[in-house]
Amino acid sequence: MIKQISIFLENEPGRLVKVAKILGNANINIRALTVAETSDFGILRLIVDDPERAYSILKENNIVVVMDDVLGVEVVDKPGGLARIAEILSNQNINIEYVYAFVTNSHEKAFIVLRVDEEERAINVLKENDVRILTSEDVTEI
């Protein structure tokens, strides 16, 4: 499991700038991000190299933020990488609520971040299919 930072953002110009600057000034590197939005607000989800520090710095700056564990898996950075993971889960009737991905520096591996409805079962079936589940260290060390 890896740490994900989720931030509440109003859907207005300048909101992302503020958060990005806070993290930039603290020398925190963003590995991956995705935004889920409605017409008036969005949730910015981030994978960063130092989630604990990012979380406390954002809090200090009065940003509404939460940190939790999400499922991260490693795939080969080749066509069909995501399809394989999605298929394993769908065969077990496990629903993916959201998913995003990023490549590592070596460009050999890609990391996929998943929020599923049945986390424990998902981990087990992925492991059974020899999919490597990421730990926090994997993300820090990219």
Partner: protein, 436 residues
């Protein structure tokens, strides 16, 4: 606890007798001394002898805020300027301020009712009274100040603003009573939390005297939890005297009107007719003992219900059972009449909702729409949009169930809704702004 046991525990018939005597005397007094009222009496063909009982009060003309404005600044006085020792003025949100004037006896009477108001919720001479109401033309600061001195409290005239210093003073000087607007109390609590000050550990507050704006029962609970004190409602308006027209006792069940000085009526705001006990309408006051600027049947614009039954505290002085709002604050949204305080009450019962909110009224085509803007707190943020949308639904449903009103809900970042150190701004009427 009583400050003036005799006056505060008068039985209902004793009170009525005193009120009748004082009414006759004030009518006589204004007829003699106020050009304004003398002319009104003549217009209405009214003689002082027509007012021979307390029920005769309905024959008297109303006094409106516009009368004070039209006779700005000193046209409503019943004394020579030489006898006036103080003026206060209310912020003129529309046009000129409203000026009120006090003789030495008026200040004395005000200090007396304020002393009652500090003692009724449990204040004593041993208390340290932190006055965070604004000092100046606004009656809040000096009203509490004089009352506190009369009781013998240690008064800290902190005035409004600079919340950091307020907290420092409250901590170092060991304040036990905090007096300010309820919205500022919330702000202080929020600020304390941010600064890692725990009111339970770091402050000595036991009583809060909060007023100058309508507030709901659920906000009371929040303030009590956040500041670790018991919160009491104080009511007043500068036209009548300032704070201390009415005050909640330890029962926390409606503010007692000090009716030996201020005679209350409830009227139908449309027809002006006096309503019976227990009916909701506009609150009207006749000052029974003022010299400088006595007012007959002054229309406060506040909507409420009065309770005349004896209170468990032993007082018969009628209680204001929560001000619903000002008659002119009432929103009419697609035909539904609603007071902002009613929406506040519903909102503050939802634990995930922060203590600040803003109601925005606008028009979409021919329809009025009400948007409730609330701040997102750490309690509700999650990685899923779904969770926040659920909260929006919850707020919508709660308001719809309680008030039969459909609203839009808008979640914003903390700090986005303006904070107030005086009276809070809770409504933005874009319909008026567009017209204006």
């Amino acid at each position: 606890m009583y400050w003036n046991k005799e006056a505060e525990t008068l039985k209902r018939d004793e009170l009525e007798k005193l009120q009748e005597k004082r009414l006759k005397s004030i009518v006589n007094y204004v007829y003699k001394n106020s050009r304004f009222y003398r002319e009104k009496f003549k217009e209405l063909n009214l003689k002082i002898s027509d007012i021979n009982s307390i029920d005769g009060i309905t024959k008297l003309p109303f006094t409106q805020k516009s009368d004070l404005r039209d006779n700005y600044p000193y046209g409503m006085l019943s004394t020579d300027m030489g006898d006036i020792i103080r003026v206060h003025a209310s912020s003129g949100t529309t046009g000129k301020p409203t000026v009120v004037a006090y003789t030495r006896n008026d200040i004395d009477m005000w200090s007396e009712v304020m002393a009652r108001s500090i003692v009724a919720p449990g204040g004593t001479k041993n208390d340290v009274l932190h006055v965070a109401y604004g000092y100046g033309l606004f009656t809040g600061g000096l009203g509490l100040h004089y009352g506190g001195e009369r009781v013998g409290c240690t008064v800290i005239p902190a005035s409004g603003g600079n919340t950091q210093r307020q907290l420092l003073l409250m901590h170092d000087l060991k304040s036990t009573i905090l007096a300010c607007t309820p919205s500022y109390a919330i702000y202080i609590a929020e600020y304390a939390k941010k600064e890692d000050i725990d009111p339970k550990e770091d402050l000595n507050l036991k009583i809060g005297i909060f007023g100058a704006e309508p507030w709901s029962e659920s906000i009371r609970r929040r303030i009590e939890d956040a500041l670790d004190l018991k919160a009491f409602d104080i009511y007043g308006l500068s036209e009548i005297v300032g704070p201390g027209v009415a005050q909640e006792c330890e029962e926390q069940n409606g503010a007692h009107i000090w009716s030996d000085h201020f005679f209350p009526e409830i009227i139908d705001p449309e027809t002006g007719e006096q309503l019976g006990e227990g009916e909701e309408g506009e609150l009207v006051f006749t000052t029974l003992t003022k010299e400088g600027m006595p007012l007959l049947r002054y229309r406060t614009g506040d909507r409420t219900v009065l309770e005349y039954d004896k209170c468990a505290c032993g007082r018969y002085h009628p209680r204001i059972m929560r001000i619903r709002g000002r008659t002119d604050d009432m929103l009419i949204i697609r035909g539904v009449n609603v007071f902002p305080s009613q929406i506040e009450h519903v909102l503050m019962k939802i634990p995930e909702v922060g203590s600040h909110y803003l109601l925005i009224v606008d028009k979409k085509g021919p329809l009025d729409i009400l948007t409730v803007r609330v701040e997102v707190t750490d309690k509700i943020i999650s990685d899923k949009v779904k969770d926040l949308m659920k909260l929006e639904e919850k707020i919508k449903n709660s308001i719809s169930n309680a008030l039969g009103l459909n609203v839009d809900v808008e979640l914003v970042e903390p700090g986005e809704i303006p904070r107030s150190e005086g009276k809070a701004v809770r409504i933005r009427d874009l319909r008026k702004e567009k017209r204006g």
